[in-house]
Amino acid sequence: MDNRDPFRYNVLTSGHRACSGCGEAMAARMVTDLVGPDAIYINATGCLQVFTSHNQQSAWQAPWIHSVFANAAAVASGVEAALRIKGKETPVVVQAGDGGTFDIGLQCLSGMIERGHDVLFVCYDNEAYMNTGVQRSGSTPHAVRTSTSPPGQFSQGKQELKKDVISIIAAHNMPYAATATIAYFPDLKAKVEKAMRIKGPRFLQILSPCPLGWAHDSALSVSVSRLAVETGLFPLVELEHGELTGVMRLAEQKPVEEYLRPQGRFKHLFANKAGGVELRHLQALADARIRRYDLLNVDTQWDTETAMQSERHGRGGYTVSSAVREVK
């Protein structure tokens, strides 16, 4: 066990082989440290599984299991059922990428939710099949370049839209479903903590930039995810039993171009007229989401400006009471 840091558990610790600047590694580290080591983690196949459990070396410091790509929610159902019958209250957390959530894993996820298992399902959404080399997924946004949605003479990247998975999940009479991103840690923290207080199935979709797949500078993972929210392309919302109960208001709406520019996966949109049309399309999608969730006016706890801010001396971190522990 690695106990270098007395202020957090390092449930996901160092030595993992994620790419430099990996948003998923960051998100998973945040979530698992907030949930803590007294939980059972089930991982779908994907980057997170590969880079944390490489060849007899594990970066996990909590019970963790990986089975196959599609079945994480079902394995978690079984784990939770076993704990329930044994009278144990150990939290169960699923971690999956967007493939394991939106696409191949959706059936098991739907079953898990429908059956009401007391499981937190966390989707680290990096908007493509990154582990296999950046192929398009159901989560890939419109007009994105991936290796299976390449721009060409007759194409401007992915032709279809990003699947609205949070609405699909919420439609299950879901006790709690929320979107979050690494850029707004206080918001992410509040959502994880809220999710952990609720019994039954819970779902978090965390936008986790991938410097490799999105083709942005590794240092920009946080700022890119921030811009996804600030442009309205990735609204941060909470839904309880299908009803919208929380929205991150935008302090100001930024043009989508600010988000798209630093990312190579949108580069082709700036190359010609046809790309320009898709730029306007993406702006329209952002505008529509802003209207749909009333992102500019809704009355909420915090907005994109205040959610960034915290205080001196450990302001953005884990609360000392919950994380400071005796080093074993």
């Binding site: 459990s53 019970p63 196959v68 079984g78």
Partner: protein, 397 residues
């Protein structure tokens, strides 16, 4: 005390007696009656377990995977398409070395879709790393299910109990159901060393690379080989406690001095047994050998049993399309390795629920190998045409 029970219900009672804590399944004919009964037991409080209605067989297998990994004895059942939908997870359960027990109510695999019994489903997943035990009767299904948990948990291997759909699952037979105390005396409480538990965190199912993957497979193979004496020993121990045994790996029938031996699996062997008795009564030197344990494949035991046979017939209810009989091919390899050159006649029959009547079996014993030139197998004669032929022969005679 024997009770007249439908096979599904009998085996469901056996499952109940093993006290699984999690039962997960997805309905599919002909397995459905098993889990329906278990659902009722849970609903009635007769079985203290979580009954999970999975969204698919893939999900069901995954649920029992998770449940066993979390330290709960678990059960699932399926058949046919459902088993194949589980395939990826079956390999995974075996690779994780989780002691899962399931029943496969053997059924044909489509297309064309067919709900009746053959062994194509379980034979198709023979390489997944599961122990496969094929039962002949409902009583054996009950007893083998109880043994299966003991084997799985002792060997760290998943066990699939294969019982023929309809022929067993939907057939009423007198069955001696053991008492809870008897089962408890045979089957210790669930124990599993690699339980997901924050008290002792561990990583299960991590990624492996070329420099150690083969060792994982070698370890599974070794575990399978080690399981053979265990299966035999537990059958013997079961016999001591319950007064019934089922042959361990192989169950011979009139092998003494048998020149022609028919080898097969599952319920068809009941018919074979009758035919052998009849032919023995007629003075023919025939015998039969029931392959109860297909995985691990008891190659050496088979060679011992068949060393003196002059003629060997393998009748099986599955086909490796493009190759032929599966058991036959493996048997040929086993005999060859043992230096036995007796030809093995490969016969495939009973597919999609077609009857293997005494006439058909007898015909196999009577007619020697008449494979078309170059063919490694032949299909069993159709029982209806055989009946017609027999009637014509009778009329003509």
């Amino acid at each position: 005390m024997k009770q007249l029970l439908e096979g599904s219900l009998a085996v469901a009672e056996a499952v109940r007696l093993c006290l699984p804590q999690v039962v997960a399944a997805y309905p599919i004919t002909p397995q459905t009656h098993i889990i329906e009964r278990l659902a009722q037991h849970v609903a009635n409080g007769e079985l203290e377990a979580e009954f999970i209605n999975a969204e698919s067989e893939f999900g069901a297998a995954s649920i029992v995977l998770g449940a066993v990994a979390a330290g709960a004895r678990s059960f699932t059942a399926t058949a046919s398409q459902g088993l194949l939908l589980m395939t990826e997870v079956l390999y995974n359960i075996a690779g994780l070395r989780l002691p899962v027990v399931m029943i496969c109510a053997n059924r044909a695999v489509g297309a064309p879709i067919n709900i009746f019994s053959d062994h194509q489903d379980s034979m198709s997943v023979r390489d997944a790393g599961w122990v496969q035990l094929y039962v002949e009767t409902n009583q054996e299904a009950v007893d083998t299910l109880i043994q299966a948990y003991r084997i799985a948990e002792a060997c760290g291997l998943p066990v699939m109990v294969c019982m023929d759909g309809f022929l067993l699952t939907h057939t009423f037979e007198p069955v001696d159901l053991p008492t809870q105390a008897m089962v408890d005396g045979f089957l210790p409480p669930f124990q599993f060393s690699r339980t997901l538990d924050p008290v002792r965190p561990m990583t299960l199912g991590g990624a492996s690379e070329a420099d150690n993957f083969q060792e994982y497979r070698a370890a599974q193979q070794a575990a399978m080989e080690d399981a053979m004496p265990v299966i035999e020993a537990f059958d013997a121990e079961f016999n001591e406690q319950f007064g019934r045994e089922h042959g361990g790996l192989l169950q011979p029938c009139h092998l003494d001095g048998a020149e022609t031996v028919l080898l097969g699996m599952g319920s068809l062997m009941g018919v074979v047994r009758d035919v052998v008795d009849k032919l023995r009564d007629q003075g023919q030197a025939v015998g039969a050998l029931r392959l109860r344990c297909f995985r691990p494949f008891p190659a050496q035991a088979l060679a011992r049993y068949l060393a003196s046979a002059k003629r060997i017939i393998v009748l099986e209810k599955a086909i490796s399309i493009g190759a032929g009989g599966i058991v036959a091919a493996e048997l040929r390899a086993a005999l060859h390795q043992a230096g036995i050159t007796t030809p093995v006649e490969s016969v495939i029959g009973g597919l999609g629920g077609r009857d293997l009547t005494p006439d058909v079996i007898e015909a196999l014993f009577q007619k020697s190998s008449e494979n078309e030139a170059g063919a490694t197998f032949r299909f069993a004669p159709d029982h209806k045409s055989l009946t017609r032929q027999n009637e014509e022969a009778m009329n003509n005679g």
